[in-house]
């Protein structure tokens, strides 16, 4: 008790109370999380406004003598004629280690019932993106643990890769799998406009797999005001930026930016801004570009940290040419395209490898993966080309037939159930087996069984080999011949039971 008093005394000694000059305004209209204000002639764009009684807002529409502001919090008691003050600050959210493992709202306040966040550091939610001189090109992989992605659409740390597809095609699952697969990367999952029950399921899954220990969830669900949904991705990015500034690697997922754009549209209509294409306000492109620009890989002079972004976009009936999808495609470094038809045909994850690209991630792919991925791409491309016309002709030449059979087995190997990421070395060896035709002599239905048995046998009998691939991340001649020898042996025993 005495210590507390002494502490307070010390603080008060250093405090000089002073007269204050402030800029005030009067509320002229309130509703739907928006307020119109007269006065505040000195306010700046995005400045935090103090409405009193713990209610704050952000100044958005600056007109000659009145402004529009979004309200952050319970505004039931705010009424016409109330006074507003400028604060000279931009909204800040708590950042740092203390936030890790927590579920927070768009203001960075905890909503998981685990008590207050003991963070002493705060960052402003709007920040200038890192400049060109501070950046470095992508060269370290961000392993998702999903075979189809790590092999064919590799993602590098600091990259922005879009996950795009219709509803219910496995977009969120890819994001969550990627979080589960991380070890030294801090993950931030921003849930925008989703059902509260879905977010709860995600939190439960991350807790159950232990991934919550390196994850932060920023949640603005469908039941939160549009303004909170608009703000959430910026708060999440701010939390991630802190780790990047500390020289660490962070990953942020925006699930999803379609709902974010909708929230922004709703907010803009309330602010009476003119609307343009598809009724979105004219600056909706800037809304997402200034968000995604903040993801980067910093060079060594700036600590070498990174922030990787996986934005999610939901399309309607596969239409990627709608306004918001085209915008986001143009500001990302590639996209993972998920297709409803594939999903229903049982190809899950439903990645359309033909339409998916990663424009910079190739530079970050490990040598081990590169040594199998080249062949894999070729086999799949040929398969796609042949597949279409295989349906029409019954008598194919043997070479064509074998290419089709190979393609079917590879497709089977690229399937993967949710929440079971595969380690790099396991991905490399199973893709090695598939692309080298070791599965060709077994029926397609046996492919999954083959994978399970093969990986099990390797982990039991070739521990050293697997450890070496994991460690060096290469598949050199020596390791390849070792693997080849083992695989041939394995085939013999596997065919005894499975022909």
């Amino acid at each position: 008790m005495n210590d507390v008093l002494k502490d307070i005394e010390k603080q008060l000694d250093s405090l000089k109370t002073k007269a204050v000059k402030e800029n005030v305004g009067t509320v002229t209209e309130v509703g739907d999380g928006i307020a119109r204000i007269e006065g505040l002639s000195e306010v700046q764009a995005s400045e935090l406004l103090d409405f009193g009684n713990g209610l704050f807002g952000i100044a958005l529409n600056l007109e000659a003598y009145n402004i529009g502001a979004v309200l952050l919090g319970d505004f039931t008691y705010l009424k016409e004629g109330d006074t507003v003050k400028t604060t000279g600050q931009i909204l800040q959210v708590p950042v740092g280690e203390a936030v890790v493992g927590r579920v927070v709202n768009a203001l960075g306040l905890p909503i998981d019932g685990k008590g207050p966040i003991k963070s002493t550091k705060k960052y402003p939610v709007e920040k200038i993106a890192p400049g060109v001189i501070t950046r470095k090109s992508v060269s370290v992989p961000l392993q998702t643990g999903i075979k189809a992605i790590d092999a064919l659409i590799p993602i590098g740390r600091g990259q922005r890769e879009l996950i795009i597809g219709d509803r219910n095609t496995g977009k969120t699952t890819i994001a969550i799998d990627t979080i589960i697969n991380q070890k030294d990367v801090i993950c931030i999952y921003v849930a925008i406009g989703q059902k509260t029950s879905k977010v709860a399921q995600i939190v439960a899954k991350l807790e159950q797999t232990g991934a919550m220990e390196h994850t932060i969830i920023v949640s603005a669900t469908a039941s939160d005001p549009a303004t909170m949904q608009w703000l959430a991705p910026y708060s999440g990015t701010t939390i991630g930026e802190y780790f990047m500034d500390q020289g660490k690697d962070a990953l942020i997922i925006y699930d999803d930016l379609s709902k974010h754009a909708n929230a922004y549209r709703q907010m803009s209509l309330l602010l009476r801004r003119p609307s343009g294409r598809e009724a979105y306000p004219g600056d909706v492109f800037y809304l997402h570009s200034r968000l995604l620009e903040r993801s980067a890989r910093l060079n060594e002079d700036y600590g070498g940290g990174s922030l990787t972004a996986l934005p999610v976009i939901e399309t309607q009936a596969g239409d990627v040419s709608a306004y918001i999808p085209t915008n986001v495609i143009s500001i990302t470094d590639g996209q993972i395209y998920l297709e409803g038809d594939l999903f229903f045909a049982g190809v899950r994850p439903a990645v359309n490898v033909g339409l998916s690209v990663s424009r910079v991630g190739g530079a970050a792919q490990t040598k081990a993966m590169k040594s199998v991925a080249g062949r894999l791409k070729l086999d799949l491309a040929q398969f796609r080309a042949l597949q279409a016309f295989a349906q029409f002709s019954s008598d194919l030449d043997p070479q064509t037939r074998s290419q089709i059979e190979r393609g079917k087995r590879i497709t089977e190997i690229l399937k993967q159930p949710p929440f079971s990421p595969v380690a790099l070395e396991d991905q490399v060896v199973i893709l090695y087996a598939a692309t080298n035709g070791y599965l060709d002599e077994f029926p397609v239905e046996k492919a999954r069984e083959f994978e399970i048995q093969y990986l099990k046998a390797l982990s039991l009998r070739e521990k050293k080999l697997m450890a070496e691939i994991a460690d060096k991340k290469v598949l050199d001649e020596k390791l390849t011949s070792q693997l080849e020898k083992f695989t041939k042996e394995f085939i013999k025993s596997f065919s005894k039971i499975n022909k």
Binding site: L15, T17, E22, G39, Y65
Partner: protein, 133 residues
């Protein structure tokens, strides 16, 4: 929308021209008001209400509202206003008693507030102790 914007610009111009060194020029006001009345009725209502708002705004910019927990004499009020004229052009003043200030004074001119009250200083102490904004 754009029509209203153009009208609003016009109204704001009229507002500035209705004042001379902070003083309202009644003659000009009459001219502007008669002018606005001639507009189609929906535009006239809009223009007149914006004009009135503008006039009130400018008048407020030249009016000092002084608040204190106890009644102040005219001499005291003038003492408060005088130094303010270096940064504002104060032509009118109003006085209000507000016991919740506890001590000191608070002056409001337009949308600027100069708060020299005891309650505000206590507030600063509270913030320092609790660390809240």
């Amino acid at each position: 929308m754009t029509k209203n914007k153009r009208l609003l610009k016009l109204v704001n111009l009229a507002v500035t021209q209705s004042f001379e060194k902070g003083k309202l020029n009644i003659k000009k006001v009459t001219i502007f008001v008669t002018g606005f009345k001639k507009l189609p009725s929906n535009q006239a209502i809009f223009a007149l209400s914006e004009y009135l708002k503008g006039i009130k705004r400018v008048v407020a910019e030249h009016t000092a509202i002084i608040e204190s927990p106890v009644k102040l004499s005219d001499v005291e009020i003038n003492k408060i206003i005088k130094p303010l004229n270096s940064s504002f052009l104060i032509l009118n003043s109003e006085f209000k008693v507000d016991p919740s200030l506890l001590g000191g004074v608070k002056v409001k001119i337009g949308d600027t507030v100069l708060d020299h009250s005891v309650s505000r200083k206590i507030e600063q102490v509270r913030k320092k102790i609790t660390g809240n904004i």
